[in-house]
């Protein structure tokens, strides 16, 4: 009798095994979608230190109550505003440029109201929350404040570096992109820092009020 050949292995269940693995990986993994608002917290300081005195006109006070309503204090009066109006108000405050003499703001394009901020370095945005404020409202307010800063930084970036053909946010994204080469990054870093120094984000979060 002729030598028997090895029987062929049935590969029909291979697909089942592969499906099983596939489903396992689908269930246990997560497509990376992490992005968000980067912030830096102020260092912890003992509360005994003397409070820093800031001129009232340089403070833009935002207060959010437990019903998620917003109130702003600027130009000497209190007002209840909608979230959609907040960005324009913050821009108006930051861009005011009411400073005189050495406080004068070179690039501000605001209406130089005497009761509003002197210049970009002096302007402080302060945010106060109630303990019962919803997190989503807090994030929306943060987002609008960052948007206001980005709007001005974009404008100043385009003014200072018109040849690059991109604004601050685009340049920042390019800087953070791991595919940008390091030489390019160095150049961008310098320019980004110049704009960040021109318009610093001075953001103060007051202690939450007791409800």
């Amino acid at each position: 009798m002729a030598k028997r050949s090895a029987p062929e292995v049935n590969a029909g269940s291979m697909a089942d095994i592969a499906f099983l693995l596939l489903i396992f990986f689908l269930v246990t993994t997560d497509i990376a979608t992490d992005s968000g608002l980067n912030r830096k917290l102020p260092p912890w300081e003992p509360p005994t230190e003397e409070p820093v005195v800031i001129k009232q006109k340089n403070i833009f006070q935002i207060t959010v109550n437990k019903h998620d309503q917003l109130q702003i204090k600027t130009r000497g009066d209190d007002r209840v505003v909608k979230l959609s109006e907040l960005r324009a108000e913050v821009v108006r405050f930051l861009d005011n440029g009411g400073g005189q003499g050495e406080d004068a703001c070179k690039y501000c394009k605001g209406d130089k109201h005497p009761e509003s901020s002197d210049n970009f370095d002096k302007a402080v945005v302060s945010l106060g929350n109630d303990r019962l404020t919803k997190y989503k409202t807090y994030i929306s307010v943060q987002n609008e404040v960052i948007a206001a800063y980005n709007e001005l930084r974009n404008r100043e970036f385009l003014r200072a570096y018109p040849k690059l053909g991109m604004n601050f946010v685009q340049a920042n994204n390019m800087y953070q992109d791991p595919q940008t080469d390091s030489e390019e990054k160095e150049k961008l870093k310098e320019k980004l820092q110049t704009i960040k120094d021109l318009i610093p984000q001075i953001f103060s979060e007051a202690e939450t009020k007791k409800s």
Binding site: A18, S35, Q176
Partner: protein
């Protein structure tokens, strides 16, 4: 001529499934490469708020996650319905953050330690009181780089109530 009828000629030949495993393996490899294994099992509700001024979080940097939100349905009877923190796989209180940050730092190389980012993944319905406590604890621990993880979208869409 044979007694038996010949098979019908007209029928479609069966489709070969021999290449099916190859296709599925290809999918499998795609998912293995494009995804990461979930860090934590969530015991809380975690629908993130949306924002549009966002920056991407670089996965190469060291990131620690702090979750907060209402306990999910099955834990509600024991944990109540108030917003809670979750660190790693357990419910936690804000004073446990100190130990959490220390443990996360200890797991890193020396030069990576100052780069640690704390990503706050907080449910949009959570109260700010809890978040303020967390932030104060982080400030005490000198873990100052934080990221409010959000979805991409219009920030004003959060306000709908």
């Amino acid at each position: 001529m044979s007694k038996f009828k010949k098979k019908k000629e007209g029928g479609l030949p069966p489709i070969s499934t021999a290449s099916l495993p190859d296709i599925v393996f290809m999918l499998l490899f795609f998912f293995m490469v494009a995804t990461v294994i979930k860090e934590d099992n969530l015991k809380i509700e975690n629908s993130l708020p949306s924002a549009d001024q966002i920056e991407k979080l670089d996965k190469k940097q060291p990131i620690s996650y702090i979750y907060a939100g209402k306990p999910s349905e099955r834990y509600r009877s024991t944990m109540g319905s108030e917003s809670r923190l979750q660190l790693n796989d357990k419910f936690a209180s804000p004073d446990q953050i100190k130990a959490f940050v220390a443990a996360e730092r200890a797991a890193l190389r020396e030069d990576q330690k100052p780069k640690l980012i704390m990503a706050l993944k907080v449910d949009k319905e959570a109260n700010m009181g809890l978040i303020m406590d967390v932030k104060n604890e982080l400030r005490k621990e000198n873990a100052l780089k934080i990221n409010y993880t959000t979805k991409k979208g219009e920030a004003t869409s959060n306000a709908g109530r």
